[in-house]
Assembly symmetry: C2
Homo-oligomer: 245 residues x 2
């Protein structure tokens, strides 16, 4: 009894899309992940068995295709035309979520691996020179094994993320905590404020410290404004007036 027994196209679409995890897997695919283990990084709490099952179902449903990767090693998953057409839907879902059900950033929703994987994906290598730049993130409150991360970027080799010291000399150190970095990423806190309150500190040459705000992106949903009054940390005057406070 999987379906809804309705001819309505909303029901038919929902039958495909609203199994647990499915929309998050799709999000990963639409944001560019192609390999099984890359997809896993975007949904770390999902078991590989289940991911495999979902991918199969999405393929059956005509949303994605599984095809051989270039060199002869392994497979890749990519959205079909039908899958591509779901992009606006996933975006709207994210925008709505950001407006109305923004995460409270409870400890269980803070994950350095997920955050750094997001940051990696949104870091534009073209903003860097051909000389390799190494940025080390250190999260004071993360578990020891996930405290330090290295972003290795260059114009031509793209962006690489390491959890073990790659051995290169570090150009820029970023000291902060996971909650602050996540809040920055999600647009919950201005970078300015994080510096002023000492929640983030840099170490490295001045020009690299200054360039940080140009290459360190926020989440694609980072500039969507929160609309939910209950979840608003600080109310702007317009909202206060609306609520008659």
């Amino acid at each position: 009894m999987k379906g809804y027994g309705q001819y309505c196209p909303v029901a038919k679409a929902t039958e495909i899309l609203n199994e647990r995890w499915t929309l998050l897997v799709l999000r990963e695919l639409l944001f560019g992940s192609r390999r099984f283990n890359d997809l896993r990084k975007g949904v770390p709490l999902m078991s590989p068995t289940l991911l495999s099952k979902r991918l199969k179902f999405l393929e059956e449903s005509g949303v994605i295709e599984r095809c051989r990767a270039e060199p002869g090693k392994g497979w890749e998953y990519q959205p079909t035309t039908a899958g591509q057409e779901l992009r606006p839907l996933v975006e709207m879902l994210g925008i709505w979520g950001q407006r109305w059900v923004r995460s409270r950033l409870t400890p269980d929703e803070l994950d350095p691996g997920l955050l750094m994987w997001d940051i990696r994906r949104c870091t534009d290598a073209k903003l860097f020179t051909s000389r390799r730049t190494v940025v080390q993130f250190e999260f004071s409150d993360a578990a020891p094994s996930k405290r330090r991360w290295w972003l290795v970027v260059s114009d031509k080799d793209g962006v690489d993320l390491c959890l073990t010291d790659p051995g290169f000399e570090v150009d820029l150190y970023i000291f902060t905590d996971l909650r602050t970095m996540t809040a920055l990423w999600m647009g919950d806190m201005p970078l300015r404020h994080a510096f002023d309150s000492g929640r983030i500190e840099l170490e490295g040459p001045p020009e690299l410290r200054r360039s940080l705000q140009s290459w360190l992106q926020r989440s694609p949903f980072g500039n969507v404004q929160n609309q939910n009054p209950k979840r608003k940390v600080s109310l702007d005057t317009k909202t206060r007036r609306q609520l008659r406070l």
Copy 2:
């Protein structure tokens, strides 16, 4: 372990919306149903217990509000601002479903109650005169107890749907089968074709028979074109060329 443990707004939105039935309940609310038992008619296979549970959760989540109905009798549910903002999402879902996963109209997806409820909702009473018009639908292939339905419409009293003979004189009889009527409703078959092939027959005064196509609407998704080649009944030439057939 209900959530996804992710700060991502897509995940947060999904936690609210992708429980089974939730999006269909929301569809009903956005299409105008306000009362518990009206909502039930839109999701007849959902148990009242579960509907109640979903409504509570949607209320907790800030998507809908439960408020007293006018006269002092009972409650009504209505979307909040956050809920209203989900309308485009539900519409997109329906459009995508209609393009790519259109129902095959298998027997379990044919339901005269659901269909007539849909038709009732989309019938515009303003297209009728102040004189009461009674239209009787008869589905040759429906279960005896669901064969005949009456639509009672007038300019000022709106549209009423009955499963038991309301006793008024019938102005227009529509004889057809459930599959044909559903296909017409979903835009899978042109009205012209249904008449020409004898799948639908009318009985009543000529001007009322002629006016049928003006007031009998199709589903809100009825004019969305199917894109899925596997599900296409007849391929147009452009598609045939694309597929090199």
